[in-house]
Amino acid sequence: MSQTQAVVAVRNVTKRFPGVIANADVSLDFNAGEVHVLLGENGAGKSTLIGMLAGMQQPDEGEILIGGAAVKIASPRHSLELGIGTVFQHVLLVPSLTVIENLMLGGSWWQRLARGAALKRFQELSGLLGVTIDPDAQVGRLSLGEQQQVEIMRALWRGEKVLILDEPTSMLTPQGVKDLGAVMKRLRDKGVALILITHKLVEAYAFGDRVSVLRLGRVVGDIPPERLKAMTESQVTDTVIQMMFGTTEAHARDAEILTGRGRAAHKDRAVDRSGAARLVARDVSTEADRGACPLRDVSFDLWPGEVLGIAGVDGNGQKHLAEVLAGQRRAGSGKIAIAGVDVTADGVPERRRHGVRYVTDERLGEGTVGAFSVATNLVLKEIGHAPFWKRGISDWPLINDHARAEIKRNDIRTPSEKTPVGRLSGGNIQKVLLARELNAEASVAVFNKPTYGLDLQNTRLAHDRIIASAESGMAIVVISTDLDELLEVSDRIAVMFQGHLAGIVENGPDVERKVGLLMTGAQSGTVGEAA
């Protein structure tokens, strides 16, 4: 199957941005009936390459061949017409429209919207992906994970020639990943050329027929199907790490994150649970809008110095849990106490005074005001309070000084403290949030998907911050859809399923299987409702 002519090929493609070469002389063939894995760190040039295939950018040099003929992919629409469907890392749906409306968007303007046919295709794809989404739910009200599932459907909508998946598994359960793998295999067997971008070697090995490694904009290695088939998983790991870092003794932690075997970093912190719990939640329930998942009778205790990981498929109430703990969302019933004080009725400012911190997953959506300066964003939750405000009057010199100190302390890469925070990279925006939330007065911290969209280095930094915070005596809740991440940082792992805490297990041997079972609802009392 690798002898056939490439469906899509890039030839000597170079793409420059001011100050960086994103792609340098890249040549790759993508064949029909092949899952081609692209591995590489953020900044390795994968996204740029995809951007060019998807028609969002044009190469400065070199060409893109489709079926052997050089083609200028002028626009995303053109790319779709050529049969290249892309699922981007960031959600590109219209939030105010419903799921089915989003899926019907691709048609020409003169075509009538055929809802019946669209629904049929929707059901088909739902079956294929094994997901249950309300087709009439407004996309903006879905969780990020569900939105991504809709994105995958959208890319599959017309049964394209080429399907590009940019980190598609980061939000799925182990079972969901397996299902996606099955979908990919089916599509591959139908002759689709799949391009899979991932950080995780396990996935590359499990799903890939061919692996290419990118580093600093160049293709630094290629494992063709014959060779890949003959290799064991650990051989692949070694080979790829060598390609990526130029040495087998690569940064041990990078390799761990890459392979998803980060357990070694989890120090066996002994959590003292003899004292009083720092955070107590009892039968907390919330009310939800259509399409969102509310909390139902969530109870747990959290002790100082402990990290509680919350696993689960996105959209099972995690967002509500984070918001209800932060005071951003009202608990419909139940009780929340911090260090023995009932804070159920308190809003964000009062909770903050009790030391509650919330690092949101929507860094630009709600965590920061993109158009405002880094300095302003660093004090966004202190507006009106001393020392930065005296009798309501802003002390801008002090706010800017504070920002400069935080920028230095947290190694935030920004031209200036006055730069709008929206211009920074995701990793640096996250550093701004961490700097704002984690200070000496913090006693309970909630992290929602703390490493979503971050590169290896920033992922490592975020994990270090979480562990260091726990070691300093904070009680920490980490919500993540990345089980490997939870295995690395958590002392206990709870699973959210349809708004319930399906169970809490100690982090240790065999925890993956237990969590996996809880995630799919197999062990909770509500199996009947399970998808």
Binding site: A326, V348, Y358, E366, F372, I383, S394, K418
Partner: protein
Amino acid sequence: MSAEAETLPGQLPGGDKLKEIGAHIARVLIPVLLALIMGGIILLILGKDPLAYYGYVAKRGLLTWGGLQETFTRMAPLLLIGAGLIVAFRAGIWNLGGDGQFLLAAVITSATAPVLVGTLPDIIVLPLCMLLSIATGALWSVIPALLKARYGINEIITSMMMSFLGTSFANVLIKLLFWDPATTVPQTRTLPVEDRLPRLGDSTVHSGILIALAVIILVHLMMTRTAFGLKLQVVGANPAAAIHAGLNVSWLTIATFAISAGLIGLGGSVEILGVFGTVRADWNPAYGLLVVPLVFLARFNGFGTIGFVFFFSALMIGGDSAARRIGVPNHFVLVLVALLLIFLAVVEYLDHIRRKKAR
């Protein structure tokens, strides 16, 4: 024309400040010139002499003492409306109900001031009427504010609807309650000239202009240098972030509406206390929506608004007289403002592309 950029003192990257200010001025002056040229071309097409038109506008609006005084007098209500709009727009609240708020406040002022001057000294009556007008304006914003805060109902629609109701209600109030029995046309009782806002020196300009300038500068400082102003800006720039940061968005929405409508109401009061002394039932200058583009042109900046209001007032005053002499419709001034808006958007767009390329 975006409401996104935060205007905080010293928030520009150091060093480039002068260059940045220069670019700002260029971004305003180029559209002004283009609008005047385009307006001239339109006049030519209409068979009128553009130079004569602009000449009369400049002469009547700026270059004669009497015209300049009229220009300054006209600025007072416009500046107060501008101040009210800045507060609202910066907080992301599109209070387009200015006309109703303005007119009702004017009617309440003209209904109370002539009655009170007989019993109380002017020094008490004038501020009292102003406070009353602020309360009236604010009161007329309560319904859109509550609907927005409580149910998220689009305030553009509700405030405009309240504006139509407000202008009609003002009319009804005059005809049913405040009709001066001494007149045949429906109008309120008239505040004697000697009891109105004092003139500045021996000019015809009343002291309302000072109040207006003070208010708009205070509003500018409030938005840029106080916690309250920053909170409003956070709500305006990213409501989700405001909730995340624990701001009471509902309360801030209601407060914003009250301040905005109150200041617009003050504008109505000042116009009555300074200029007319009475409200006729058919009087509606419709300043509320006129000021909206000016505030946009100034990017919600108080000082910028002063400049544009001055420019626009001169155009209005001069345009009136020029229109009569040249035979151009009065509303040609609005054509110029519309052209200005279009060219401002075009220049902004080109500038945006240029900066994107430079990055």
